[in-house]
C-alpha cells in the first residue's frame, strides 16, 4: 500500500477536527475556548518548519549533485511551506485580535515570524525572476540555505533571547504551553494534529513534485 500515509493523514485530521472542537480543554483566563487553536494554528508552524527542513535538505543535495529532481523537491517543499506559514500568520493575527485585542503587536515572536516569511517570499520571487533552469536551481538553492538559517534565527533564536514580555502563550507570564504541556488531554490531540497537518502538506507537495516531473519530461 503505497499511499497508506495519505489515509493516515486523513484519519488523523478527522480525529483532530472532532477532538479539537469537542475534546476537553483546560479553562484558562483570556484564551478561553480559543486554546483549541493550538491544534490548528500552532500546527501550521510545525508543518511549515518540517517542510522548510525538507527544502533545506534537498537544496543541499542539489548543490552536491546538481540533479534537477532535487531542485524540484526543494522548491515545492518551500512553496507548500510558505502556504502553511501564510496561514499561520493569518490565523495568528485573528487569534491575537480576540485574545490580546490587536491584530498585530510589536512582539519579537510575531515580527520574527513575519520576517521569516518574508525571507521565503523572497525565495519565491527570486525563482520567478530567472528563466534559465540550471542557474535558477543553483542560485535558489544557495539562497534557500541562507533563508533557512534566517528563519531559525527569526522564529526560534531571537524570541528566546529577547527580554521583552512576549505575548504568545507560554511567554512573558501569559498562561501558556507550560500549562498545556501538563494537560494530557490536549497532548493527545496536539501531537496527532501536527503529524496529520504535516502529512497533508507532504501530500500537496508530492502532487506538485509529480506535476513538475511530468512537465520536466517534456511531454506535457
Amino acid at each position: 500500500m503505497r499511499n497508506w500515509w495519505k489515509i493516515l493523514a486523513v484519519a488523523l485530521l478527522i480525529y483532530t477536527l472532532v477532538m479539537g472542537l469537542t475534546g476537553k480543554v483546560p479553562a484558562l483566563a483570556i484564551v478561553h475556548e480559543t486554546i483549541r487553536n493550538l491544534y490548528f494554528h500552532v500546527t501550521m508552524w510545525f508543518g511549515m518548519i518540517i517542510l522548510f527542513t525538507i527544502g533545506l535538505v534537498y537544496s543541499i543535495r542539489y548543490l552536491a549533485g546538481m540533479k534537477q529532481e532535487h531542485d524540484i523537491i526543494a522548491s515545492e517543499a518551500i512553496f507548500v511551506g510558505t502556504l502553511f506559514g501564510t496561514l499561520g500568520l493569518l490565523t495568528g493575527s485573528l487569534w491575537a485580535r480576540y485574545t490580546w485585542g490587536a491584530w498585530w503587536t510589536v512582539d519579537p515572536q510575531l515580527n520574527g515570524a513575519l520576517a521569516a516569511m518574508l525571507a521565503y517570499f523572497a525565495y519565491v520571487i527570486l525563482r520567478g525572476s530567472m528563466d534559465e533552469e540550471q542557474k535558477r536551481a543553483r542560485i535558489s538553492a544557495v539562497y534557500n540555505i541562507f533563508a533557512y538559517v534566517m528563519m531559525l534565527i527569526f522564529i526560534i533564536i531571537i524570541p528566546k533571547f529577547t527580554n521583552v514580555d512576549s505575548m504568545p502563550p507560554g511567554k512573558g507570564g501569559n498562561p501558556g504551553f507550560n500549562t498545556y504541556d501538563l494537560d494530557s488531554n490536549m497532548r493527545a490531540v496536539f501531537y496527532p494534529a501536527i503529524i496529520g497537518w504535516t502529512l497533508l502538506g507532504l501530500w500537496m507537495m508530492q502532487l506538485r513534485v509529480r506535476i513538475r516531473r511530468l512537465k520536466a519530461s517534456g511531454n506535457i
Partner: protein, 77 residues
C-alpha cells in the same frame, strides 16, 4: 492503487458520517448528540463535510496525475 486509496478514504467518511447520524437518532429523547453542548457537533459536522470535499478534490488531482504518469510511461515504451 489510487482508486483503492480513494475508496478507502470515501469509506472512512461514510463510516464517520453514518456514525454521527446514527448516534444522533438514538433513544426517544429529543436532546440528542447534535443538539447538545451548544450544538457544537453541528459545527463539527460542517467542518468534516468541507474537509471531505477538500480531500476528495486532492484525491481527484492525485488520480489525474497518476493517469498522466501512466500514459506517459506507455508512450515512452
Amino acid at each position: 492503487m489510487i482508486s483503492e486509496t480513494m475508496k478507502k478514504t470515501l469509506f472512512l467518511f461514510v463510516f464517520l458520517y453514518s456514525f454521527l447520524a446514527a448516534s444522533a437518532q438514538e433513544g426517544p429523547e429529543m436532546a440528542d448528540l447534535m443538539y447538545s453542548n451548544g450544538k457544537i457537533y453541528v459545527v463539527v459536522g460542517v467542518l468534516l463535510l468541507i474537509f471531505a470535499g477538500i480531500i476528495a478534490y486532492l484525491v481527484a488531482i492525485d488520480r489525474k496525475v497518476s493517469r498522466v504518469e501512466r500514459e506517459l510511461k506507455e508512450k515512452q515504451k
